[in-house]
């Protein structure tokens, strides 16, 4: 377990993400959050996690943990194909920008989000947007749920194998009822 960026040259810091060493950490953060939001990039529909795709985990998690979902890129299409309607469709930098605005009332207009979960963005795009949030959204907690270390999130997995990724996602899901 190390805090090494997935793309070798994308060194960040001094302030860097703490490691999600066990699923309980992410689980607790989601439980504590009052208004979490999921930012789901296009790669979520490309990544195979054994018989499922990453996006299927996102859908299950969003439903079980009651997280609002923003589809970036063309991810909306993939959600709809699976019978799931995201709460908003917008470019990743647009949602990133809004999350830095403490007055923004969130995807549903009911108040600012206190936690943003990122998954499935191209690595460097996630890196830079999370950097924007690290620097300019001090009241927002961020978690990266990709299986690579995202140093600019508040919490991130390290570079972990697909197997251990699935285990973690299953564990977070497993602690919830439908």
């Amino acid at each position: 377990m190390s805090q090494e960026a997935w793309l070798t040259a994308e060194v960040a810091g001094p302030k860097k993400a703490s490691l999600i060493t066990k699923p309980e950490i992410a689980d607790a953060m989601i439980r504590q959050a009052k208004r979490p939001v999921f930012v789901v990039g296009s790669i979520a529909a490309e990544i195979d996690l054994e018989e499922k795709k990453l996006i299927d985990y996102v859908i299950a998690m969003a439903k079980r943990c009651k997280i609002q979902v923003v589809a970036t890129g063309n991810t909306n299409n993939e959600f709809l194909k699976r019978g799931f309607t995201p709460d908003a469709v917008m470019p990743a930098v647009d949602i990133g920008n809004r999350l830095t605005d403490p007055k923004w009332q969130g995807v549903d207009g009911k108040g600012p989000h206190d936690l943003a979960l990122f998954v499935g963005l191209p690595y460097q795009m996630g890196w830079t947007i999370l950097s924007g949030l690290k620097n300019f959204a001090p009241n927002l907690k961020t978690i990266s749920l990709d299986n690579v270390y995202q140093p600019n999130a508040r919490w991130s997995f390290s570079n972990i194998s697909i197997k251990s990724w699935i285990m973690n996602l299953e564990a977070i899901l497993g602690k919830r009822e439908d």
Binding site: W6, L7, T8, A9, A12, G13, P14, K15, G41, S42, T72, G73, N74, N76, N77, F79, L80, K81, T85, A88, V89, P91, A92, V93, D94, G96, N97, R98, T100, D101, W104, L121, P122, Y123, Q124, M125, T128, I129, S131, G132, K134, N135, F136, P138
Partner: protein, 782 residues
């Protein structure tokens, strides 16, 4: 032509866009007598002259900062940690620092084009004389230099006049660069305003460079039917001696072609080019061939096909000499800006240099005289080629060799972690070692040729060569047609499309420009260009993007340039030329204001930008933008009010300029007719935005082409494209339609029911279509 020196001295004037103090400017050879348009308020603007206009834009499109580094290391107080609300030892904040780096990048870009233009103009004056008349379009062009007229308030008539413009550009860039010094400008908005000033200067210098070379070298003069030329690796006749030229500044290549012509060698030698020199060579002679954009350098050099490499300036791999050395290909450096460590042989007789290059006594030479480069390159290629062809140096790894090398892979993943596009190289290498080349072939399609994977591989596997070995059939089949860069847009074309554009009835002008750092290969770019040409946008392109669009085939084997017209009209794909030809795209927008709308151009920047911003539905797309030049080119479009979309790598430009569609108060304009403020909706919604996928890009292009001035018919058409693309590519109706419908007549008839339902749900209210401006009306000066 007037020859007297004009001195402009302004103590203080108050203009609508700001206050100008103590501006002095000497303009030699100003053509005052032949241009009766009155001088506008801001000729030769200094850094802060147009600040109010910039701030007007920046208040709508506030920077969203994406720090690419939390530290600053620009002075020895540092490194300073600027994370969050920390400050550097000099007091600078994170937003200030990000904008400062953007300004630095933009200065590098503008300095590069300006220096390019200066070298070119100096050379052309030496060769053809300062009195050589500028003629970028024959009888079809009266407004020969729209950006120069707009920015400088002067009408250049000769090559010599362009020196005045460059004096101004150089002065401005020096001051702009000075602003980035420790303890100088630190206010993020002021820095961003200076970024826009830099961008404007960049377009000015690009215009100078291109109209100079068009005039002196007789490149296509605003010619929509410029010849179709060959592009692609497969178009090269490898039996002939082959010269490769890489870079941007064309005089050495012109001399190569002239020497061949003068000595009746034109059919005997292949002259091939990579990057913009390639583009500009084919504008000079359709016999020259383009290999491809910047990312083709390694694969082409390693093929061993070039017998000699000539480099000029910009976007050349700095390790070109190492790559060439491995295959014993001699290299000639021709620019003081890129000497490659080679000995200066400019003063030596050509025979001696040729002798040394052919015998291999030297690996290359610096020759700072384009004419001499011509002789040496051609004769060296002819002498060295037979020997090289016999030895078959280079010429790719065989599949067997490559597969053997793949077996050395330990699956450590270092290559993938070095790859900017995070490609699945280890899996592909493993599959390749089992004689399954498909994955590696797929990587070939998206590989940008950076060879970072190779540098990272602890096993020393020449990964890129393996990729090329797998993709060899594709590479050898790369043979397409590209329409040579036509240069400027004719005045008559502007007159014909001006009305439909301003009324919104041609849905937009979309310019695909910039470098080749594509996230998923070049085909995406070609697909986008075709989609918008089919939707009857005017599609413009230049530089590496223009090449990429050409390297695509339809079912009949035709490239887009063989299918679509080159006229500046709806449904066309218009290649204007190289990077510096981008000025013709911004110039076309400016000419719409002056030729079609008869607005005064001269020294009247803010008014014209306000016109373009509110009326001309133009959008720039730099899908693979990577360079500092791309940063300054984009900034020049922003200041003119033209939004720019970049691909996913574009977030590394450190900040976006984003509108907030949910802030209604941001989207009011002044109605010139009534003096009232009118809500017009978020059009265009963003000024600079990176998007993730080509699907998202296409939806964004359609969306950003809307303007406050659209007539209902125009808006309905633009909405049709936006909604249709959103449905098809993103899967659903957009949820923000109510922000773009101003009155019922704006609603596309075929979608009426759906949209009316949405409007009801959103509590939509009708508004009016104003005569829009962002510049507050002031009493005209007495």
């Amino acid at each position: 032509m007037g020859t007297k020196e004009i001195n402009i001295s302004i103590k203080e004037i108050e203009t609508e866009i700001g206050n100008i103090k103590d501006l002095r400017f000497s303009v030699g050879r100003l053509a005052q007598e032949t241009w009766d348009e009155p001088q506008g308020p801001t000729p030769f603007p200094s850094m802060s002259t147009l600040r109010n206009w910039d701030l007007t834009l920046l208040n709508r499109y506030k920077p969203f900062y994406l720090p690419f580094c939390d530290l600053c290391c620009l002075c020895t107080y540092g490194k300073c940690d600027l994370t969050g609300d920390k400050k550097g030892a000099c007091g600078i904040t994170m937003p200030g620092q990000q904008s400062r780096i953007v300004l630095l990048a933009a200065c590098i870009g503008a300095a590069t084009h300006t220096s390019h233009a200066r070298e070119l103009v100096t050379h052309l004056i030496e060769e053809f004389g300062a009195d050589t008349r500028l003629d970028p379009g024959g009888l079809n062009i009266k407004v020969e230099a729209p950006i120069t007229r707009l920015v400088c308030g002067m009408m250049p008539e000769t090559l010599g006049d362009l020196e005045t413009v460059l004096d101004y550009s150089e002065q401005q860039i020096t001051s702009l660069l000075a602003c980035t010094h420790t303890g100088q400008e630190g206010n993020p908005f002021d820095l961003e305003s200076k970024v826009m000033h830099t961008g404007m200067i960049d377009h000015l210098s690009m215009e100078v460079a291109d109209i100079a070379q068009i005039s002196a070298y007789d490149l296509p003069k605003a010619d929509p039917n410029a010849p179709l030329v060959d592009i692609g690796f497969g178009s090269v006749d490898t039996k002939k001696p082959v010269i490769l030229v890489i870079g941007h500044n064309v005089p050495p290549s012109v001399e190569i072609m002239d020497y061949m012509q003068d000595n009746e060698l034109t059919g005997d030698i292949e002259v091939t080019g990579i990057c913009c020199t390639g583009i500009d060579m084919t504008r000079y002679s359709p016999k020259a061939k383009i290999i491809g954009p910047i990312s083709w350098q390694i694969r082409y050099i390693r093929s061993g096909i070039p017998d000699i490499i000539v480099v000029d300036e910009q976007c050349i791999r700095t390790d070109v000499l190492d790559e060439a050395r491995a295959l014993k290909i001699p290299v000639i450096a021709t620019s003081e800006k890129n000497c490659l460590g080679l000995t200066d042989r400019t003063g030596d007789p050509p025979e001696e240099i040729i002798g040394d290059l052919v015998s291999g006594t030297i690996e290359g030479a610096l020759i700072l005289n384009p004419e001499k480069v011509g002789v040496v390159a051609v004769r060296t290629a002819m002498q060295i080629a037979p020997k090289r062809k016999k030895e078959k140096k280079g010429i790719f790894l065989s599949h067997d060799e490559a597969m053997e090398m793949a077996k050395e892979c330990t699956q450590c993943r270092e290559c993938r972690r070095a790859c900017p596009n995070d490609m699945h190289i280890p899996d592909a290498i493993k599959a390749f070692s089992r004689e399954e080349p498909e994955m590696l072939q797929e990587i070939y399609e998206s590989c940008v040729g950076c060879i970072r994977c190779e540098s990272a591989c602890p096993q020393g596997i020449p990964i890129h060569s393996l990729i090329v070995a797998a993709g060899e059939d594709t590479l050898r089949n790369e043979s397409f047609k590209l329409r040579a860069g036509r240069g400027a847009i004719q005045d008559i074309e502007i007159r014909q499309v001006g009305g439909p554009i301003v009324l919104g009835e041609i849905p937009g002008i979309v310019a695909f420009v910039g470098c080749a750092n594509y996230p998923k290969g070049g085909n995406e770019l070609a697909e986008m260009a075709i989609e918008f040409a089919n939707r009857r946008f005017i599609v413009c392109t230049s530089g590496c993007a223009a090449m990429t669009i050409g390297m695509h085939r339809d079912e009949d084997g035709k490239s887009p340039y063989e299918v679509y017209s080159g006229n500046f009209e709806a449904g066309a794909i218009v290649n204007v030329g190289s990077c510096v030809s981008n000025a013709h795209i911004s110039g076309a927008a400016v000419k719409i204001a002056s030729i079609f709308a008869r607005r005064n151009l001269r020294g009247n920047y803010a008014e014209i930008a306000d016109y373009v911003y509110n009326r001309v539905g133009a959008v720039g797309v730099a899908w693979g933008a990577m360079s500092q030049k791309a940063a300054s080119i984009a900034a020049g479009f922003w200041r003119l009010g033209i939004p720019v979309i970049v691909g996913p790598h574009g977030t590394k430009y450190r900040r976006m300029l984003l509108g907030r569609s949910d802030h209604d108060e941001d989207w009011y304009v002044n109605d010139t007719r009534t003096g009232e403020k009118v809500y017009v909706g978020p059009v265009p919604e963003h000024l600079f935005i990176a998007v993730e996928t080509k699907e998202e890009a296409m939806v964004m292009i359609a969306k950003l082409s809307m303007r406050p001035n659209d007539t209902s018919r125009g808006r309905a058409l633009k909405l049709t494209h936006y909604i249709d693309l959103h449905r098809r590519l993103l899967g659903s109706m957009p949820t923000d339609i109510h922000r773009f419908v101003r009155m019922e007549a704006d609603i596309p008839i075929t979608m009426k029911e759906d949209i009316v339902a949405i409007l009801k749900e959103k509590d939509w209210k009708e508004t009016v279509i104003p005569d829009p401006t962002l510049i507050p009306k002031k009493e005209a000066a007495p």
